[in-house]
Subunit: 413 residues, 2 copies
């Protein structure tokens, strides 16, 4: 869910796309590990995280921000691999809606991720020579992801989070937190999300996975042995997913049918340029194509294919009502948490109807809930983009909750 | 746009997926060829077609049915490669809405296709040893496709078509026919289509193409030299496209989140099964995944990857208004053709708004036009499926036009 403007894609051969660079992330190690939903114990577990702001003396001003499928813990600072600003730098920071002058913000790289938390890239404990888990990494669930985050929160000495906030898969984590640890979440903001992954979304995820499997460099997940990552397959997966993050209106507004006339048509990702690209009718390509190629080729430099498989699978398996005999309200019965459910009118990946189901279940559970559908043509990605109505909604809800929680303004200042 | 019910995908290795079988199709050869929109002359041109019913003595009862991206000329009879019924067997036949007791129905495999008409699989005239065109096949447009059909229609001795009917890309051909040859089209029925390909649709097509390029068996389009077709890439392209043909409602109704518990999880398309599939959390897979894999793996047995590239590109370049300084109405000014524009309420690939643009332009051109949006949850594929409102609409429109045209009922009986 990059916000990168269109740029000419680099004509790069797959040989030059190396695996993710080794970056040292701030992390904590839990030797005892974690009991997973699949019944296996994963140990040790390392969790990478970043924090912003200062925890107040009562340890009452912490906000957990949960990242989306391809996000990471670098919410409000430069991402160490891409060098780009944090993915929510417009939302989290001094004076911003999630105000780090006031709140202590924590973001944890998800279990199964590839930015320092234990995942398919991590060394498999029982393997010689530090061989990674790869596809032998145990299947995980969104609840496992929340439980791993909980260990970090406890490690930081935080008993109760002032708020848990996240969009898309981050919103699934918010719901998992509220269901698993209701007494530890004062306020919850699930944005552009769902209480279960729909058939259509499972279908899109499955095509993403098939694109990765189709890349011979995937090598049944053991791509570290061939020294080449499945860049082409992962790029295709990303390109397709990226379309689903936008809306037809946004794509029309940004690109329409504009073409770029180029002397040489950029090569397909990971391919040597054919002498005459079959794409270049009359020597043109559409701007939307150039943009998507850029999205695909930049993504493969910062994300791991096996993590993509693991985490998309966790999303597919998310179905909070199924854990409660099909009764979503039962997941929240008696909850003390205050909820603000937010959706975007043009989001077709996690449509408003899904947020309405959540709000209805919370009402049935007699929870304190407000529900806001924000009118926008930006699609699912609206939660990452300049959307003043989202800023206002978040700021207002957090302010109201802070008053109820007895958090003085500027408590950490 | 198969209607195939879900079935367990065959666990097939790519080596066993051979190029399309050689099938003899009914065809006509035009030695002089065709002047293309790109400025090149393509010669010779062979066009494969099928006909149903009998041309009446006045040669006034002919209906041209135009097929969609992955359709073919086998409208109402067994497809020779798959052995399945014709793609519109429920619509075209004796007593059916496109009644072959009454009308003479022609369907032509599109130029650039792979079922007998000249396309990337055809031998390149200037190459030794019958080497195919491959990616050197000239870029074509929907208008080129219509002009190639027009040669077949003229060859059959038909001066004026009673009707031109088609859905999706078939509908684009209907519009191209009406714009290019207004005096030769008495009635036109563009279904679930658009007068231009939107940015979102171009984006989806581009991802399809990148999936094909990402398959090493594509071999820069010269896959006949390696004896293996890019089956995995083409299957991924098909799977993704297939999602766009349905609707979220249809996917939920057909599959929901139902899983199949299987001892062995089917292998990804074209891959040897990994010992333990990373997909098989708790030994399950979702039914929608199994369905999509089947769609992908059956498609590659009947379609050619270079044709997919060529024809998707033609769709991307379709923009009828652009040929008339941005004025779509100018494409139809003074037309004598009667139009029936049909859309489906849950079609998000070619939404009703696109059909409304067409109807509005036809109104501005003072054309005789009716516009019907059919309420259905079946998505874009509704035009291929059991949709009684579509049957009624088509039957009624054709009956009304037949009366105006002075076609006696059962004229060909």
């Amino acid at each position: 869910m990059d916000q990168t403007p269109p740029a000419p894609p680099p004509a790069e051969s797959p040989a030059s796309i190396s695996p993710l660079p080794a970056v040292e992330h701030q992390h904590v190690r839990f030797a005892e590990g974690l009991e997973l939903d699949c019944g296996r114990r994963l140990a040790p577990v390392e969790m990478a995280y970043q924090t912003y702001g200062r925890l107040d003396d009562r340890r009452a001003n912490a906000i957990l921000v949960c990242h989306a499928l391809t996000g990471d813990q670098y919410v409000a600072e430069q991402q160490p691999i891409t060098g780009k600003p944090g993915w929510w730098a417009r939302m989290v920071g001094p004076g911003l809606p999630i105000d780090t002058d006031r709140f202590f913000v924590v973001c944890v790289n998800v279990l199964g991720g590839c930015m320092g938390s234990t995942g398919p890239r991590s060394p498999r404990p029982d393997a010689a020579g530090g061989e990674p888990w790869g596809t032998d990494f145990p299947p995980i669930t969104l609840q496992d992801i929340a439980r791993a985050q909980e260990k970090v929160i406890t490690h930081l000495g935080i008993d109760r989070l002032f708020a848990v906030i996240g969009g898309s898969m981050g919103g699934m984590q918010v719901l998992a937190w509220a269901a698993l640890f209701p007494r530890r979440v004062f306020a919850a903001v699930p944005i552009a999300t769902a209480s279960f992954h729909s058939a259509q979304n499972i279908a899109f995820n499955e095509v993403s996975r098939q694109a990765i499997f189709a890349d011979p460099d995937w090598n049944n997940g053991r791509y570290w042995t061939n020294g080449r990552v499945p860049a082409r397959g992962l790029a295709v997966a990303r390109m397709m997913a990226h379309i689903t993050y936008l809306s037809e209106e946004a794509l029309t507004r940004k690109f329409g049918r504009r073409t770029r006339r180029e002397a040489t048509v950029p090569a397909p990702i990971g391919s040597a340029a054919p002498a005459q690209s079959p794409l270049g009718l009359f020597g043109e390509m559409f701007e939307v194509e150039s943009y998507l190629r850029h999205q695909g080729s930049s993504f493969v430099r910062r994300f791991d294919a096996n993590s993509y498989l693991t985490v998309t699978r966790a999303m597919d398996y998310f179905d909070l009502a199924a854990d409660h005999d099909g009764d979503l309200a039962a997941a929240f019965r008696g909850t003390p948490t205050r909820f603000c459910v937010i959706s975007f009118s043009s989001d077709w990946l996690f449509p408003t109807s899904q947020s309405r189901l959540i709000a209805r279940a919370l009402n049935q559970a007699a929870a304190n809930v407000s529900f806001v559908e924000i009118e926008t043509d930006k699609g699912h990605d609206a939660f990452l983009l300049d959307e003043p109505a989202l800023d206002r909604t978040l700021r207002g809800f957090l302010q109201g909750c802070a008053e109820h929680a007895g958090l003085a303004p500027g408590v950490a200042a």
